[in-house]
C-alpha cells in the first residue's frame, strides 16, 4: 500500500509552513485566555449599559488583540428578541441571572465549564452558588454585577426607622409618593416574600391572588410606574417621589446622593431582594475562544473595578476589586455593606409559573 505520494508530502509541507507562519504571529507571552485556541474577532457584545466603557474595551484589546463592539440593550427582553432575530451575530449576551432559563431553553446560549472561569473562585460568597445561573444542571452564565432591591427614601420625608417595616409603603402618608419601575417579577416576588412566603418564586393560585390583591392596595401610593431607571432617579431627585421601591435601589440611592439628596437605602425587616447580571455566550458564535476570553476578562477583579467605578456605578460580584478601588470608592459602591445585605436579603429567582405571574402583573396594571 502506498502511504504518501509526492504531492501529499508537498501539500503537508505547505500546510506546516503556513501554520509556522501564523504561529509566529501569536504572542505566547499573553495570558492563558488564548490557551491552545486562536483568538478571532471582532466580537459583538449585547449588554446593559456600562460595558461600552472605552477603558474596558481598550484593556481587552491590549490583552488579546481582539476588538469588541458593544451594543447597548434596554432590557432582558430586548436582548432575547435581538438574539432571536439574529440580524446581528452577537457573541456575548448579558441577561440577568433570572433570564438564564429563557435563553438556554430557547437554545440561544451555550453551557460554560466553571473550570474555564478561574475568577468564579474570587466572587463574593453568594455568587459562587451556581444554581442561579444553571439550566438543566449546566452553568450558562458568569456573574458580573449585582444590585439590591429595598426601599430608598428621602430622609427628610421618611425616617430609616419607618422604612424598616415594608408595610410603610402601604401607609396613606405616602399617597402618590412612591415611584417604581415596570419590573413585574421583582414586585410580585417582594410582595410575596413580605407576605411570609419563604420561597416567593413558587407562589401560584390563591397565594398569587393574595399577592396581587396586596399589590393593588399599594397603587394609590404610586407616583409612577416607569419603564426606565433614569425616570425613577429623576423623580427622587426632583422631589416628585419621596420613596423608590426596588428599581435596583442601591444604584438609585447612589445617584441621588451624588445629586445632593439626603436619601438612604433601607432593607426592611421583611428582607430585600438581590438581582445579578451575567455574561453568556451566544449559540453559534464564530469566535468562541474570544468570547470565552472576554468572559474571563470581564469577570476579573481588574475589569470589574473599572466597571464598578465607571459611569453607571453598579456593585460588582468579584471580591477582588478591593485591590483596585480606594477605600472611599469601595464604600461609595456600598461594597462594605455586602455582609449586611446578604444577611438581610434573598437572591431573586425566576417564577415557577411565568405565565401566571405575567397575567397577575397585567391584572395589577389594569386595576
Amino acid at each position: 500500500m502506498r502511504l504518501h505520494t509526492r504531492r501529499d508530502v508537498l501539500r503537508h509541507a505547505g500546510s506546516a509552513a503556513m501554520f509556522a507562519a501564523i504561529a509566529s504571529q501569536v504572542d505566547f507571552t499573553r495570558p492563558a485566555f488564548a490557551n491552545d485556541k486562536k483568538l478571532t474577532g471582532p466580537i459583538n457584545v449585547l449588554a446593559w449599559t456600562g460595558y461600552d466603557d472605552p477603558e474596558l474595551i481598550k484593556g481587552f484589546k491590549e490583552l488579546t488583540g481582539v476588538d469588541v463592539n458593544v451594543k447597548e440593550a434596554q432590557s432582558n427582553s430586548d436582548q432575547l428578541s435581538l438574539i432571536r432575530a439574529g440580524t446581528t451575530k452577537f457573541d456575548i449576551v448579558n441577561p440577568d441571572a433570572v433570564w438564564t432559563t429563557k435563553f438556554a431553553q430557547s437554545g440561544l446560549t451555550l453551557p460554560l465549564d466553571p473550570a474555564d472561569i478561574p475568577s468564579l473562585g474570587e466572587m463574593f460568597a453568594p455568587f459562587r452558588d451556581l444554581s442561579d445561573i444553571q439550566y438543566d444542571g449546566k452553568m450558562y452564565g458568569a456573574p458580573t454585577r449585582f444590585g439590591m432591591n429595598g426601599i430608598v427614601h428621602d430622609l427628610d420625608k421618611l425616617s430609616a426607622a419607618d422604612a424598616a417595616d415594608a408595610n410603610v409603603l402601604w401607609d396613606a402618608k405616602l399617597k402618590d409618593r412612591i415611584s417604581i419601575v415596570n419590573w413585574a417579577e421583582l414586585y410580585i416576588l417582594m410582595t410575596a416574600l413580605w407576605q411570609g412566603n419563604p420561597k416567593p418564586e413558587t407562589v401560584v393560585g390563591p397565594e398569587l391572588e393574595a399577592t396581587i390583591a396586596r399589590l393593588v392596595e399599594v397603587k394609590p401610593n404610586l407616583r409612577a410606574i416607569h419603564d426606565d431607571l433614569g425616570s425613577v432617579k429623576s423623580d427622587l431627585i426632583n422631589g416628585d417621589a419621596w420613596v423608590v421601591w426596588g428599581a435596583s435601589s442601591d444604584n438609585v440611592a447612589r445617584v441621588a446622593r451624588e445629586a445632593g439628596k439626603n436619601v438612604a437605602l433601607t432593607l426592611p425587616k421583611q428582607k430585600g431582594v438581590m438581582w445579578m447580571e451575567t455574561l453568556q455566550i451566544v449559540h453559534g458564535t464564530e469566535h468562541l475562544a474570544s468570547a470565552m476570553a472576554y468572559i474571563n476578562y470581564m469577570t476579573s477583579a481588574k475589569a470589574l473595578s473599572i466597571m464598578a467605578w465607571g459611569k453607571e456605578q453598579f456593585a460588582v460580584t468579584n471580591a477582588g476589586v478591593s485591590k483596585y478601588l480606594t477605600a472611599e470608592q469601595y464604600k461609595l459602591l456600598d461594597l462594605d455593606k455586602i455582609d449586611e445585605w446578604f444577611a438581610n436579603s434573598i437572591m431573586g429567582k425566576a417564577p415557577d409559573d411565568e405565565k401566571a405571574w405575567a397575567d397577575a402583573w397585567e391584572q395589577f396594571k389594569a386595576a
Binding site: S77, S81, Q105, K365
Partner: protein, 304 residues
C-alpha cells in the same frame, strides 16, 4: 366604404394610434409615478403586516415559536377582560383628545387662514415646529414643566398664587391630556387650515349680503366647507390617539393600561410575539374599518 373614406380612415387610424400611444404613455407614467409609493408601502407596511398576520396564528412554547395554526390568540383577546379594558381606555382617550383638539384647532386654523395676513407662513411654521423634535423628547420636556419642581409650579409658588406645588400636574390624567393635545393639535390645524383657506371671502360676503348674520354665515358657509378638513384632522387625531404609548407612559406615569401598553407587555413581558401580533391585527382592523366608514361619509360631503 367609399373611395373618399380612404384617406379619412387613414387619418382616423393614425389619430387612434396616436391616442392609444398617448394613453399607453400616460399609463406608463402613472405606473412609474405610483411605483415608489407602492414599493414603499409594500416593503414597510404590507410585508411587516403580513408577517405579523402570519405570526398571529402561531403560539409560543418554551420561548420558541410553534407554527401550528390556531385561533387561540384571537379567542384570548375577546375573552380576556383586561384587553377590553385597555382598548376602552384607549378609545376614551382618543375620543376625548379628538374632540378637544377639534375645538381648539378650529379657531387657530381660522385665524391663520383668514386673519393672519402676511404672518400666515410664519404662523404655519410655528404650528409644525414641534414636529422637528421627537415626541419622546417633547414629553420629557413637559416633565420639566409639569413636575413638582417644574417651571409651572415654581412660577405659581414664586408669584404667591399657591403655597404648595400641584402634584396632579404630572403623572396624572391631566398630564396625559395636556401631552396629547400638545402632540396632536398640529395634526388637526393643518388639514383644517387647508379647508378653511379654500373658502372664498366673497362667498361669506355673499351670505352676509343676503342678510345672514356673521354667525349664520359661519355655520352655513364656512363650517360646511371646512368640514372635510375637520374630519381629516379628526381621523388623524383619533388613530394616533388610539395607539398612543409614549404620552401615557411618560406623562401619565404608566399607571393606566392603554392598549399599546398591553401590546408591549405581550411582546416584552410575556415574550409572546404571536399574542402581541394578534392584538395589533385586531386594533388595525378596527382602525381600517373606522377609516373606511369615515371616508365613505367624507366623500359625499366633499362632492357636495
Amino acid at each position: 366604404m367609399t373611395i373618399a373614406d380612404g384617406p379619412m380612415d387613414g387619418s382616423a387610424t393614425a389619430a387612434a394610434g396616436a391616442a392609444a400611444a398617448s394613453a399607453r404613455r400616460a399609463r406608463r407614467q402613472t405606473i412609474g409615478g405610483l411605483l415608489p409609493i407602492v414599493a414603499w408601502q409594500t416593503l414597510f407596511f404590507a410585508v411587516p403586516m403580513g408577517i405579523l398576520f402570519v405570526y398571529s396564528f402561531w403560539t409560543m412554547k418554551d420561548y420558541r415559536l410553534d407554527t401550528t395554526v390556531t385561533l387561540a390568540n384571537y379567542v384570548r383577546i375577546f375573552t380576556n377582560p383586561i384587553y377590553l379594558k385597555g382598548f376602552l381606555l384607549s378609545l376614551q382617550v382618543a375620543l376625548f383628545v379628538t374632540v378637544v383638539c377639534g375645538v381648539l384647532a378650529f379657531p387657530v386654523a381660522y385665524f391663520i387662514a383668514k386673519k393672519a395676513g402676511r404672518w400666515r407662513v410664519l404662523l404655519l411654521i410655528m404650528v409644525i415646529l414641534p414636529f422637528w423634535v421627537s415626541l419622546i423628547m417633547r414629553a420629557f420636556a413637559w416633565r420639566l414643566l409639569l413636575g413638582e419642581r417644574g417651571v409651572i409650579n415654581q412660577g405659581l409658588e414664586l408669584t404667591g398664587l399657591i403655597d404648595a406645588p400641584f402634584s396632579f400636574l404630572l403623572y396624572s390624567p391631566t398630564a396625559i391630556v395636556i401631552g396629547l393635545i400638545y402632540a396632536y393639535l398640529p395634526l388637526y390645524v393643518l388639514p383644517l387650515y387647508a379647508s378653511i383657506d379654500k373658502v372664498r371671502d366673497s362667498w361669506i360676503a355673499a351670505a352676509q349680503d343676503l342678510n345672514a348674520t356673521p354667525m349664520r354665515a359661519f355655520w352655513e358657509v364656512t363650517f360646511p366647507l371646512a368640514f372635510p378638513g375637520l374630519m381629516v384632522g379628526a381621523v388623524f387625531c383619533f388613530i394616533f390617539g388610539l395607539g398612543e404609548y409614549v404620552v401615557p407612559a411618560l406623562l401619565g406615569g404608566g399607571k393606566s393600561l392603554v392598549i399599546a401598553q398591553v401590546i408591549r407587555m405581550e411582546f416584552e413581558l410575556r415574550q409572546n410575539w404571536p399574542g402581541g401580533a394578534a392584538i395589533s391585527m385586531v386594533l388595525m382592523a378596527f382602525i381600517i374599518a373606522l377609516l373606511a366608514l369615515t371616508l365613505r361619509w367624507i366623500r359625499p360631503e366633499v362632492a357636495r
